[in-house]
């Protein structure tokens, strides 16, 4: 892999991405990922060579549409089953630490 475009990705950028993805990175991880990401991005940039504007995008490998479900109530989970895997709950609701941000 050529090293020419590795400067495209900065540690600050990776730190921002890690924040968006909610993953704490150690300084070592940040440094390593910055280098790796630059390499990978350089390799995958190849897609832009052939992706011209006249080509439609394919999101689904098999083209289907109008896949619907009738509006009929089905089985629900019991509260116990729902909470069974939760790290913390109060018996009926999931419990989380204080929220700093606010509702979107």
């Amino acid at each position: 892999m050529s090293e020419s475009s590795t400067a495209d990705i900065t540690a600050e950028q990776v730190a921002h991405l890690a924040h968006l993805a909610r993953i704490d990175l150690t300084p070592e991880e940040l440094q390593r990922l910055t280098g790796e990401l630059a390499q990978i991005v350089h390799a995958v940039e190849k897609v832009t060579e052939v992706a011209t504007s006249d080509i439609p995008a394919t999101s689904h490998p098999v083209a289907l549409h109008n896949v619907f479900r009738p509006d009929v109530v089905g089985a629900t989970l019991s509260t116990e089953a729902a909470l069974a895997g939760a790290p913390e709950h109060d018996g009926s609701r999931f419990k989380v630490s204080a929220i700093l941000g606010e509702e979107q």
Binding site: H16, H19, L20, R22, S59, H60, L64, H65, N66, V67, F68, R69, P70, D71, V72, V73, G74, A75, T76, L77, T79, A82, L83, D90, S92, R93, F94, K95, V96, S97, A98, I99, G101, E102, E103, Q104
Partner: protein
């Protein structure tokens, strides 16, 4: 917190032109959720109306509720929108504990409906056309309860609890284009717009549209620009405005607040603001920033929605009248004068009155109860009248009055019972033993007793002083503890006098 400077409203309008925009979220009243067959119900015990899909459990997948799509298309058509030939879902990615998957399934570049408009009538009958940019389908989030701290609000809370019953409830978000020219009537227009959307979705039968329950939620965008300036000002988005009255107040407040800042040479921060019903103010929320990178991409678990021409035709044919046309027709049908009708609309009770008449009540009776006793109690309690009783209950009550089973006074008592949740009007009449005594025998016995106490009354009546009957009627009503039809008692007394 320092007191926020507000400019006098009229002064603000002299200096600035307000530009409005609204994002209204409508919860659809489908039986199940948008992407899961969990029941779409309000008020259930926490985390009981959920499936693996609602909790975003690993491996779970969404499937689109067909009824929600039909409702959304109907709403799009009623808003005069084009219905997309092909529309698709997208993921809006952001982390928040009420969002089970940490992405919301919404629509981004291909909404189901776009480019419409709706006529809104102001209090004096002026019509304003509000341009609609789009209406798109999405899912609601769960409900957070903040515990600890003093306010119950997010700030200062020690921890939060999450209930996912609401997660995945179908929503349609209606987004307007910027609305110009409302001028000093901007607050009034805001209220009229939301009220029109509310009437519309209820006429369509696609949402309960109860604002106090969050079925209908309005985010109001307000910006000001100096007179003569073409460029739009920086806008704020006020969230959490959950009653018609608040919509009006919040827009007025934002105009006054922004005008005060701009007049002093300050700049408006583009941000989300929160409306506080208790103080009648807005407070700064999160500023818009680069962090708002929602990384939208087409939802790979769902396929495009391609409504057929037949479906659109079918739904178009079933559309109710436009709210403005409907109002005009109802006003004529009901025979109310301008003021009477406008009062109903301004109280936000048109749908309630209409639905009450549809249950068989006479329009004047429906109006009398909603605009009278129910509105009085609602105002006293500072709640929406529709949160107290249903049109069905009111029509039942009216029927009991009409049939002579209840007097107005008794009916008011029954209404209190209904509001207190004691049951249907019939049940309350039964339980409280409130029925009017329609047994003539019982009435005649009471009349005889009253006449024995006031022997001169019959003579007075016979000599032409019919009003003397009042004393007997009063005594009988008192003896019957009000559970008698005064008109019938009067008839019987006059019969007795041979008049």
């Amino acid at each position: 917190m320092a007191k926020t400077d507000l400019m006098d409203f009229d002064k603000a309008l002299e200096l600035f032109e307000p530009v409005l925009g609204f994002e209204v979220h409508v919860e659809l009243s489908t039986k199940t959720k948008m992407f899961s067959d969990a029941p779409n119900i309000f008020g259930a015990e926490p985390n009981t109306a959920i499936t693996p899909v609602c909790l975003g459990l690993p491996g779970s997948l969404p499937v689109v509720n067909e009824q929600a799509v039909r409702y959304s298309i109907s709403l799009g058509l009623a808003l005069g929108c084009e219905i997309a030939e092909s529309s698709r879902f997208a993921r809006k990615n952001y982390f928040y504990p009420d969002l089970a998957k940490n992405y919301q399934i919404s629509q981004y570049d291909e909404p189901i409906a776009f480019d419409g408009s709706i006529e809104v009538e102001l209090e004096d009958g002026t019509l304003v056309t509000v341009p609609i940019e789009r209406a798109h389908m999405e899912e609601d989030a769960g409900k957070l309860t903040h515990v600890g701290g003093s306010t119950g609000r997010i700030q200062g809370a020690e921890y939060s609890l999450v209930d996912y019953n609401r997660a995945g409830v179908p929503l349609v978000e209606i987004v307007t284009r910027p609305i110009f020219g409302a001028e000093h009537r901007a607050p009034e227009l805001a209220k009229a717009y939301v009220s029109t959307i509310r009437d519309l979705v209820r006429a369509l039968g696609i949402s309960d549209a109860r604002m106090e329950r969050g079925n209908l939620r309005c985010d109001a965008n307000v910006s000001l620009r100096p007179r003569g300036q073409e460029r739009l000002g920086i806008r704020t988005e006020t969230k959490n405005v959950n009653s018609l009255r608040s919509v009006e107040r919040a827009v007025r407040y934002e105009i006054q607040r922004q005008a005060a800042i701009l007049a002093k040479g300050g700049t408006i921060v583009q941000e989300t603001r929160h409306w506080h019903e208790d103080t009648g103010t807005t407070s700064a929320g999160r500023p818009k920033s680069d962090a708002d990178d929602y990384r939208y991409f087409p939802e790979p678990d769902l396929l495009p929605v391609v409504p057929s021409a037949e479906l659109i035709k079918e739904l178009r044919a079933a559309l109710p009248e436009q709210p403005v046309a409907m109002r005009r027709r109802l006003k004529a049908d009901w025979g109310f004068n301008d003021q009477e009708f406008r009062d109903i609309v301004n109280a936000g009770l048109l749908t309630e009155v209409l639905e009450t008449t549809q249950q068989g009540a006479a329009a004047f009776q429906a109006r009398k109860w909603w605009m009278g006793e129910i509105l009085r109690i609602a105002n006293a309690r500072d709640v929406e009248p529709s949160s107290l009783v249903t049109p069905h209950q009111v029509s039942e009550l009216i029927a009991l009055v009409e049939s002579g089973d209840l007097t107005d006074r008794l009916a008011r008592e029954v209404l209190e019972g209904v509001i207190a949740g004691e049951g249907t009007p019939e049940e309350i009449v039964e339980a409280r033993g409130l029925k009017v005594v329609s047994d003539d025998g019982a009435l005649i016995a009471a009349i005889d007793e009253a006449l024995a106490a006031q022997p001169d009354v019959l003579d007075k009546i016979r000599s032409g002083k019919v009003q003397a009957a009042g004393a007997v009627i009063g005594a009988v009503m008192k003896a019957m503890r009000g559970q008698a039809d005064a008109a019938r008692v009067r008839e019987l007394v006059l019969e007795r006098a041979g008049a």
